[in-house]
Symmetry: C2
């Protein structure tokens, strides 16, 4: 049973404009964009003026509109919009991972109360249908871990560095020129974007919503020549990896951190703006999904898939939350890290539980040791400001 | 809303037995296997006698059973079982690709009439949820092609040949020992298994069911040392590839044939019993899904996902068939092939439209030329019996 969709669109940036064009090409959904709400009155647009409004109420209170597609940058504003729409029984498609990672639990409740649907597969891995697969297919309790490159922009930068000997700054600039990077690059390169996606994935994969503040994320903005050399000499690449691991029947952990990746790993060959996710289960072993994780058209087409799903009245069921004992999130899990430093560092800060290797040289020094995630978490705000680089080696 | 499932199981081979164990470990579904129908009364079983029956009516007419899982080898018998179950309003999960590839259209109609559901994601790529993804996610009309290694057994054989210098016969024996091969190896190595899966995929991807007899399939059983050398000297591997290609807005083609694969291709690194599928769309570009395609546990867990879906009352919607103009299947598409021969061959048989390369040597000879699929199709039964080898080079 298909429903005719009259869409109200918030935002007309790279993804919004791509979506408009993807929608025009699609004969799949019986959908038309009625109104587009934007902020900037002076910006030149590719459509005629009458398509646009600057007042969000024109969409939220428009009775003809039965689906809202929210594609704006500002997470707080996005939250207000999504909340108001659901309260008005309007279904919503959103791509705003930051907003979702902070309010998902509440928005799940609001869906329950109002019956309206909120879909956001486009928020997690661009064109890879990761949420829907976890929700619909890998929905048995055999899941052991999800490991992924979830941020196209930082992966693009690392690819340029490791494959083309580019330096960090020019690689970042290139990513921004190509439209892969978020408007605030720190979201990408410091691992926040990956973290937000991981929070969303965990909510579906294990049924537990965790506030992003409670999860350790660390990015690639401090990477140096010496770190790159350390990795390449060993035949590794460095990738920014998000991971959730089921620790036992009752608990799990998760984190985002750059990682030394061996050539045998599936994610080793995930390059440029691509994302790749490995889902590991007890019986199906490993599943690997791979696709474009950034850029207007891949994300636009992911939004389109969410829209199509809406036209078929699809809703996430949040099966893990509803039908299972929720797993407890734990940050006391220990990981082994490489920590590079250039000047003297107070190691007592880190509370390593043991150190297995130490190297000191004229240009740089490093230690390799085991540390609890909870210790790293305490330093989450400080770490990016220190002239050091952390990299996951193994559990 | 979850439904308690009382399962009647047909077949207790590798997959059936794995499923039984996977089900025992799963707390996801409220399901128990009430009865298992098997053929051989004398075979030793790992369960007590009272679980088994030898009369299919004990399951079909059992009012307590609300889901039938069909995992037997015989396609005709499987068809009778599935048909009777659907007619009795019992939902069915099946892994029988041969049966589905021959009767899917009819079984779609029967589902419509009776309201019972038939799920068969496990039939297509072992643990990769390809049908459900095509049905639910890549369900817009932007799909351009699906290209995949769909048969784990023949891929295992080719991996042993290309990576470990194994010969064909010992690689086949190894695959059989590991339980990857179908009981009749020709199904795997001559491309029938891949063909059946392709037929199922096409029905969901494009909405058009095509009788398998009308589609060209050719396998790897005639591969020789000279073919392997021809490929490796050029830096290629040979893979058995199934492909469907949308030709224009109205038509598509499909075929199964060994293929020279360059290292840049995603499927180049799909080795051993793994399957890999590339879905290409106009806007999301390429998506790659990868996972175990053979073996009891991966297939058992895929069947489990179908069972879980049934407990949530999931049904395939066959959206492409319902909501779109069906595309016409065409076999007049031209492909370029390598044809190796050892003794004199009557080339007029093949009706090449042009030949671009010819090589003749003491041990073997080959031609490279363009040929219509329809011409190959006429020779479908004869080709495997000739001492030649065909390999797709490019469109």
């Amino acid at each position: 049973m298909r429903q005719k969709l009259n869409i109200g669109l918030f935002g007309y940036g790279v993804v919004g404009e791509s979506l408009y064009h993807v929608l025009k090409h699609s004969k799949t959904v019986d959908a038309s964009v009625c109104k587009i709400c934007v902020k900037d009155k002076d910006k030149k647009r590719s459509l005629t003026q009458d398509k646009f409004t600057y007042d969000k109420e024109d969409i939220i209170n428009n009775k003809d509109i039965n689906l809202v597609v929210e594609l704006i940058d500002d997470a707080d504003e996005a939250y207000d919009i999504v909340k108001s729409c659901l309260e008005n029984q309007k279904s919503v498609v959103s791509g705003n991972k930051k907003m979702l990672a902070h309010h998902l639990n509440e928005l799940i409740e609001l869906q329950e109360q109002t019956g309206a649907s909120l879909l956001y597969d486009a928020s997690a891995c661009g064109s890879i249908p990761i949420i829907r697969n976890i929700e619909e297919y890998y929905d048995n309790d055999l899941l052991k871990s999800v490991t992924g490159i979830l941020n196209g922009s930082s992966n693009y930068i690392l690819s340029k560095i490791f494959n083309e000997n580019s330096d960090y700054d020019s690689a970042l600039k290139k990513a921004q020129q190509l439209g892969f990077a978020e408007s605030n690059p720190s979201l990408d390169v410091d691992g926040f974007d990956s973290l937000y996606k991981l929070i969303i994935i965990a909510t579906h994969a294990l049924g537990t919503f965790v506030n992003p503040d409670k999860v350790f994320n660390y990015g690639i903005s401090n990477i140096q020549e010496s770190d790159i050399r350390f990795a390449t000499e060993k035949g590794f690449k460095i990738k920014l990896v998000a991971q959730l691991i089921k620790l036992d029947d009752n608990s799990f952990t998760m984190f985002v951190i750059p990682r030394l990746v061996k050539p045998e790993k599936y994610i080793y060959n995930v390059e440029d703006e691509y994302n790749g996710v490995v889902i590991q289960g007890e019986f199906y072993d490993k599943q690997f999904m791979f696709g474009k994780g950034a850029g207007g058209f891949p994300t636009g087409s992911a939004v389109l898939s969410d829209i199509t799903a809406c036209s078929h009245n699809y809703k996430y069921e949040y099966k893990k939350q509803k039908y299972f004992k929720q797993l407890e999130y734990r940050a006391d899990h220990e990981i082994e890290i490489y920590l590079r430093y250039n000047s003297i560092v107070d190691f007592s800060l880190f509370e390593f539980s043991c150190i297995s290797e130490k190297y000191s040289g004229k240009d740089y020094s490093y230690v390799i040791g085991k540390i609890k995630l909870s210790n790293l978490l305490k330093l989450k705000v400080v770490l990016p400001k220190l002239n050091i680089f952390l990299c996951y080696i193994r559990n």
